[in-house]
C-alpha cells in the first residue's frame, strides 16, 4: 500500500470475510489492481501499455500451452507438426497465428512501454528497481521469442539459431566449446530443438514471476505520471479501480482490434517467407534476417566491421549485448532530477533523435547489405551509444529544465484553464 489514504479492503459478504481471514488473496488483488491502489489522476494512454503487456503474456501462455499439445519437438517432424496444426487441428490455424502474431504484439507493446519510461523518466529514483526488473523481463522476452522462433524448424528458424548461437563462438579461446555445449552439437539439431522447446515453455513463467516483482516494486513509490511530479496528497490520486480499470479496458479493446486485424487478415505480414521452407542445413538462405523486433540490435551487430585489438565480430557481439545492458545503468547515467521530458526541452529533442535512430537501425537490420546501408547503420549505431553513454549524462547536467508545476492537481487544473506549462505537453 503506497499512500496513507489508500482505501482498505472491507469484505461485507460472510464468505469473503471468511476467505480474508484464511487466505487474503482478494485483499492482495484489491490492493494491487483494485480500489486499494491510489494512482495519479493525470495518466495518459501511454500508461495502458503495462496492462497490455500483461494481457499479451497471458495470450502467449494460453495459446502456447494449447499449441504444445500438438507440437512435436523433434527435428524430423517439427515442421510437419506445425503444418498439421495449421490444417488438421481444430482452429489450429487460429492458435498458431495468434501465438506468432501475439509475440509481435507483445514486443511492440513492450517497446512502447519502454519508450514511455524513457520519455517520462520513470526509470529515475525512486523507481530504479522497477526499471531494472523491467530490463530483466525484456531480456527474458528476447530469449523466449528467439527460442520460440526456432520451434517451427523452418529455414529462418534454423539459420537464425545458427547465427545467434554463433555469437558465442566470438568469445576468445573457449567460445566454440561454449557454443557446442549450448547447442548440444556442432550445429542446431535435435538436441538444440529439444532444449529450446523446454526453455521456451519455462521462460514465460519466469517472466510472469519477474512481473510480480516488477509490480510489487512499483507499488512502493506508486506510479509515475506525465508531469513527473510526485504525488503530494489525496487530491492527486484516484483509486485504480474503477478509474484505470475503465481506461485500461479502452486500451485493451484497441489493442485487441489491432491484434485481430493482423491475425485474421495479414497473419504472415511480419514473418519471413523462408520459414515456410523446412530447415535444410545444406542450403543457406540468400539473406538471413531475424524477426522485426530484433532488427535494430542486429544492425548494431553488423555495423562493427573493423578489427581493433579485438576481432570485429567480438566487438559486434559486445556492442549488441551492450546496447541492451546499458539500460541497466540508465538511472545513474541521467542525473537530472526532473523526470518528465515535457519539462526538459533539450533531452526531449535528443530523445526524438533516438527514436528516429532506432527506426533507422531497424531498417538497416532488415535491408540487403550495400555500402550505403552499412554506412547508415554505422552512423546510427554511433548515435545510439553516444546518446546513452555520452550525450545523456552531459545533457542531464547542463540543461535548464522548464518550471515544474507544484502538484499534479495544479497541472491538471491549469491545463483545463487553458494555460500553464503543460499546455503544449503531449499528456492528454
Amino acid at each position: 500500500m503506497s499512500f496513507p489514504w489508500a482505501k482498505h479492503y472491507q469484505p461485507k459478504q460472510p464468505l469473503m470475510r471468511w476467505l480474508d481471514e484464511k487466505l487474503p488473496l482478494p485483499r492482495l488483488v484489491y490492493n494491487a489492481v483494485g480500489a486499494g491502489y491510489p494512482v495519479p489522476r493525470n495518466l495518459n494512454y501511454f500508461w495502458n501499455f503495462g496492462v497490455l503487456a500483461g494481457a499479451a503474456l497471458g495470450i502467449q501462455i494460453i495459446t502456447g500451452i494449447v499449441l504444445a499439445m500438438h507440437y512435436a519437438a523433434n527435428a524430423g517432424v517439427a515442421f510437419g507438426s506445425i503444418e498439421s496444426i495449421m490444417r488438421d487441428v481444430n482452429a489450429g490455424w487460429f492458435l498458431r497465428y495468434a501465438h506468432a502474431n501475439g509475440a509481435s504484439m507483445f514486443l511492440l507493446v513492450v517497446y512502447i512501454h519502454i519508450g514511455r519510461g524513457l520519455y517520462y523518466g520513470s526509470y529515475k529514483a525512486p523507481r530504479e528497481m522497477v526499471w531494472l526488473l523491467g530490463v530483466v523481463i525484456f531480456l527474458l522476452m528476447m530469449a523466449t521469442a528467439f527460442m520460440g522462433y526456432v520451434l517451427p524448424w523452418g529455414q529462418m528458424s534454423f539459420w537464425g539459431a545458427q547465427v545467434i548461437t554463433g555469437f558465442f563462438s566470438a568469445i576468445p579461446l573457449v567460445g566454440d566449446t561454449i557454443r557446442v555445449w549450448l547447442l548440444g552439437g556442432f550445429a542446431p539439431d535435435n538436441a538444440a530443438l529439444n532444449r529450446f522447446f523446454s526453455l521456451h515453455y519455462l521462460l514465460p513463467f519466469v517472466i510472469a514471476g519477474v512481473i510480480v516483482l516488477h509490480i510489487w516494486a512499483l507499488h512502493i513509490p506508486g506510479s509515475n505520471n506525465p508531469t513527473g511530479v510526485e504525488v503530494k496528497g489525496e487530491q492527486d490520486t484516484v483509486p485504480f479501480h474503477p478509474y484505470y480499470t475503465a481506461k485500461d479496458a479502452v486500451g485493451l479493446g484497441v489493442f485487441m482490434l489491432v491484434f485481430a486485424l493482423l491475425l485474421f487478415f495479414s497473419p504472415n505480414l511480419l514473418g519471413h517467407p523462408d520459414n515456410y521452407i523446412e530447415a535444410n542445413p545444406l542450403s543457406t538462405p540468400a539473406h538471413i534476417v531475424p524477426e522485426w523486433y530484433f532488427l535494430p540490435f542486429y544492425a548494431i551487430l553488423k555495423s562493427f566491421t573493423a578489427n581493433f585489438i579485438l576481432d570485429a565480430k567480438l566487438w559486434g557481439v559486445l556492442a549488441m549485448f551492450g546496447s541492451i545492458l546499458l539500460l541497466f545503468f540508465l538511472p545513474w547515467l541521467d542525473s537530472s532530477p526532473v523526470r518528465s521530458a515535457n519539462f526538459r526541452p533539450l533531452y526531449r529533442k535528443f530523445l526524438g533523435v533516438l527514436l528516429l535512430d532506432v527506426l533507422v537501425l531497424g531498417y538497416v537490420g532488415g535491408a540487403e547489405p550495400s555500402p550505403g546501408v552499412i554506412l547508415l547503420g554505422q552512423i546510427a549505431s554511433i548515435y545510439y551509444f553516444a546518446h546513452f553513454l555520452i550525450i545523456l549524462p552531459i545533457v542531464a547536467r547542463s540543461e535548464r529544465p522548464r518550471p515544474l508545476p507544484n502538484s499534479i492537481t495544479e497541472a491538471v487544473l491549469e491545463k483545463h484553464a487553458g494555460l500553464g506549462p503543460t499546455k503544449s505537453a503531449m499528456a492528454n
Binding site: 489522476r41 493525470n42 510437419g80 503444418e83 498439421s84 495449421m86 490444417r87 490455424w93 487460429f94 497465428y97 484516484v238 478509474y243 475503465a246 479496458a249 479502452v250 485493451l252 479493446g253 485487441m256 482490434l257 485481430a260 486485424l261 491475425l263 485474421f264 487478415f265 497473419p267 504472415n268 517467407p273 523462408d274 515456410y276 521452407i277 555495423s303 562493427f304 566491421t305 573493423a306 581493433f308 566487438w315 551492450g322 546499458l326 545503468f329 545513474w332 547515467l333 542525473s335 550495400s370 555500402p371 552499412i374 554506412l375 554505422q378 552512423i379 549505431s381 554511433i382 551509444f385 553516444a386 546513452f388 553513454l389 555520452i390 549524462p393 491538471v412 487544473l413 483545463h416 492528454n428
Partner: protein, 281 residues
Amino acid sequence: MVRIIASLVGAAFVFVLGLALFGTVSEWVSNPPVESAEHEFHHHPLDAGLSSAGFFGKFDRRQVQRGFQVYQEVCSACHSLKYVSFRDLTQLGYNDAEVKAIAKGWKIEQPTINPDTGEASTRPNVPSDRFPSPFANDIAARAANNNALPPDLSLMAKARHDGANYIYSLVGHGYVAQPAELIRKFPASKTPTGLHYNQYFANLNIAMPPPLTQDGQVTYADGTRASVDQMAKDVSAFLTWTAEPRLEARHAAGFGAVVFLIIFCFLAWGAYQNVWRDLKH
C-alpha cells in the same frame, strides 16, 4: 563513477565504429560495388488478380478446380504436395465419390509393403492419403531434373514474397528470351545450358523447363479457354489454397472478431467517460 566508466565505454564503441565507418567509406570509394544482372533484370511479379486476395477474399471454387486440373496434368509430373490429402479436395466442391475416383486414378501410387512377401510395393491412393511424390526420393528427383530438386508445392504460395503473384508470373510470363542487353552488359551471366532464363526467378536462371508452353495444353472440364495466362492464374489460385486452406474460415472469423471488438471499444469508451465524468484529468 558510473558516468565516467560509461563515457569510456561509449567512447570505445564510438571509436571502433568510427574506424569501421572509415573502412566502409574508403572501400566504397576505392572499390565501388558493381551492378549485377539479377539486380538489373529481375522483375517484380505481376498481379494475378486472385479473388482470395484482400480483406474479404474468398476462393473462386471453379478457378481453384481448374488450377487443380493444371497441377494434376502438368506440375504433378515433377512436384509433390506432401501436406495436402486427397480428401481435402472436398473443400473445393468435389463430392466424396469424385474424390475417391481422383485418388484411385492418380498416376503415382502410394508406396507400401506387400503384406504377403514384405517386399516394397505400391497400392492405389485412397482419400486419406497425401498427394504422393512423383519421385521415390530426392536423389531420384535430382537425377531426373538436371540435378535440381523440384520443391514441394504445398506451401509455395507462402514460401516466397508475394507468393501467389510470383507463381503466376513465374510459370505464366517468366520464360522469355534472355535480353540481348543483358548478355552484352554481363557476358558471364549468359544462361548456362540446362537452365532456363526466367525474369521472375531470383537469380534469373531456373532449372525448371517451361511447364506451360502452349494454349490448350489442358482441356478444362468447365470449358474455359486454357490460355497460358489463364492456366498460370488458375494454378496460382490452387496453390494459394494448398498453402492456406483455412483462408476463408480465417476471414470470416476475423470479420466477426473485428465487429465485436469495435462494439467493445465503443462500450468501453462509454464506460470510461462515465466513470471519469466528474473528475478533471
